[in-house]
């Protein structure tokens, strides 16, 4: 197997929303600093933004303040969020939005030239080409090198310091080792941990990007980084079957959640993100499903605008309307909850970071969905964190060349990879993944168990996931693509174990569905108004309870 060694000042892992903006920020602030972006697909359409997005969900609208946004996010998280992280993000939201507009994003304006808001925190855009816009901006930067189709497998560390990372490149089947003065992790969240809504042919018709497999979390866990709030899973309320977003219907045309009796039930359960899912799950369970967003009665013009809006972000929903000769004005849109995801851009799961987005490992910064403590980031929050992390990474450089990667490290990594690639028999990565998803669904609160779990079921989940981890090294791996697939499953299994430990450690039910703990069905402010953190230490996941905002006082 070929190997290649590269050196850079700043390594950005993941060329998505946060990663691209981080590169742009470094290039502006410190043009002589060399940057490498390592991206497993191609930055042009990779990550969450592939199909486009509907609106900018995080913006400080006219008359509102960053503190207003912070209060909202803390409330929605039922108290478990870091106010200082939220504030530093919120203070950047409008500036990064202005930058996006300068780069070419279409944002709706009124006759006075002011952005048109959708509710208190969103602004309206045409987000279909948001990723090509970001990628074009990055491709033109002189000191930024983009390496596409390079799937990063692991950090290279020296004690507690991250000195680079390595991965496999599908194009030429090489292992690439990159040493860096500072590293920014921006690989997004983790999908594919639980059995999806449609496990058959359409298994990847999921809400979160199925190619974000939790690599960044897994690398951090293995290297002993402190992680926070994995137990606050994210479950999305989506259009049935197409799993297309529902905000466009709820906030866009004001459609409300109704059960099969036509009753509006959302008020009964509350309107935080977790309560919206809980309401739908509870109504279904009580025999009052299917639940819908009541769009019937909107004008046909509105229905056509919705068809266009969905083509700009979730085209399958429009295809479905057309194929079934139906439209939103004539028929309500049925909704369902998705399988749980780990995604720090919506909830607070991820790396435990300080206000500079520095992780607990030296020279490692985190931004976007991979970073914890700061929910409700969305696109603009990911950009904001990319910017903050980039500025901190530049600041951290001491002018010295990045360290050399030892021959020994390279040859051990190569031998390990070649070992995998020799396996011709055994369980396939697909089979491993399916098995893992079954286990998580049944014992760790997936769709099939109404998102609920108990102390006992979590113990079973842990045991079974540990068994599966032992099977990874014997799995078949016939080529470089299967090698990537196998590592994706391995990453997900690592995330599963940390997730299970977190679910177990929060002995209360603060968020219905997100962490529906049947062994402790009530909220317990006295004991659990704090962060559940964890660190992997000598083969064990150690749980640490931290007061809210400990890192930032």
């Amino acid at each position: 197997m070929k190997t290649e060694r590269l050196k850079t000042d700043i390594l950005i892992i993941g060329g998505g929303t946060a990663g691209c903006f981080a590169a742009l920020t470094v290039a502006r602030k410190s043009p002589q600093t060399r940057v490498i972006i390592a991206e497993k697909a191609n930055i042009r359409r990779s990550g969450c933004l592939a199909a486009g997005v509907n609106a900018l969900n995080a913006y400080i609208t006219k008359g509102k303040t960053p503190e207003y946004y912070v209060d909202y996010a803390v409330r929605d998280a039922h108290g478990i969020a870091d106010r200082k992280l939220l504030l530093t993000m919120s203070e950047q939201l409008n500036e990064v939005t202005a930058e996006l507009e300068r780069l070419g994003l279409v944002i709706l304006k009124d006759e006075n030239g002011e952005y048109v808001s959708r509710g208190d925190r969103n602004i309206k855009i045409n987000g279909e080409n948001i990723k090509p816009i970001l990628s074009d901006a990055v491709q033109n930067l002189p000191n930024v090198t983009v390496i596409n189709r390079l799937n990063i497998i692991d950090y290279i560390t020296n004690g507690n310091r991250v000195i680079g990372a390595y991965g496999n490149r599908t194009d030429d089947e090489a292992l690439v080792f990159i040493s860096a003065g500072a590293t920014i992790i921006a690989t997004g969240g983790a999908a594919g941990i639980y059995k999806p809504n449609h496990p058959g042919f359409s298994r990847h018709k999921m809400w979160y990007c199925p190619f974000n497999t939790g690599a960044g979390y897994a690398m951090g866990i293995r290297a002993g980084a402190e992680m926070t709030t994995f137990e606050m899973r994210f479950i999305a309320l989506r259009c049935k079957d197409t799993i297309a977003p529902t905000g466009t219907l709820a906030q866009g045309v004001g459609a409300r959640q109704v059960n099969s009796l036509g009753e509006v039930y959302e008020d009964k359960y509350g309107l935080t993100t977790s309560q919206r899912i809980w309401g739908t799950t509870a109504e279904n369970k009580a025999g009052r499903g299917p639940c819908c967003l009541a769009t019937k009665g909107i004008t046909s013009e509105q229905a056509e605008d919705l068809e266009r809006a969905y083509l700009n972000m979730a085209p399958s929903q429009t295809l479905r309307w057309v194929a079934q000769k139906k439209s939103a004005d004539k028929e309500n849109v049925e909704i369902e909850g998705t399988e749980p995801y780990i995604v720090g851009g919506h909830t607070a799961s991820g790396y435990f970071v300080d206000v500079n987005r520095k992780t607990t490992l030296e020279s490692l910064f985190a931004a976007g969905d991979v970073a914890g403590g700061c929910p409700q980031k969305y696109v603009t929050g990911a950009l904001a964190e990319g910017k903050i992390a980039a500025l901190s990474a530049v600041e951290s450089l001491d002018g010295a060349e990045a360290a050399d990667i030892s021959d020994e490290f390279v040859s051990v990594a190569r031998a390990e990879a070649e070992g995998f690639l020799k396996n011709r028999g055994g369980i396939t990565p697909d089979e491993l993944e399916e098995h893992m998803q079954e286990v998580m669904d049944r014992y760790a609160g997936g769709i099939g168990s109404d998102y609920a779990f108990t102390d006992e079921s979590l113990d079973i989940a842990r045991e079974k996931i540990e068994e599966l981890i032992l099977r990874v090294s014997g799995a078949v791996c016939r080529d470089m693509r299967e090698f990537t697939r196998l590592h994706e499953v391995k990453e997900r299994l690592t995330v599963c174990l940390t997730l299970i430990a977190h679910l177990k450690a929060r002995k209360e039910t603060r968020w219905h569905c997100f962490a529906e703990n049947r062994s402790y069905p009530d909220k317990d402010d006295e004991n659990f108004l704090k962060f559940v953190n964890s660190r992997y230490e000598s083969g064990e996941i150690k749980i640490l309870y931290r007061p809210l905002e400990e890192m930032n006082v």
Binding site: V106, K124, K205, C209, G252, L306, S316, R320
Partner: protein
Amino acid sequence: MSIRIDAKKCVRCGKCLDVCPGDLISMGIDGSRILRPEDCWGCASCLKECAFGAISFFLGKDIGGDDTYMQVKKDGRCLHWIFYDSSGQVRTITVDQSSSNKY
């Protein structure tokens, strides 16, 4: 949810390879092909890129898909989404990229 690539229409330009967020498309001798159709996320990036109408997008039968599929034609600022069923073209929806979503 997935795509089909018509080898007869593919001119091997390779543009679809570079926009797949899952790196699922590769170039074969007679055109590009999707390696694992069941891994497709349904983002439609590849069909927007294909100027030759070689890529069509359909809903999997397991989520209620039938024979209806769509393709995209790009024309300056506009994307024309063209829908077909077994009887031929059924509808076109045009989205002007320079105007914002209403919702």
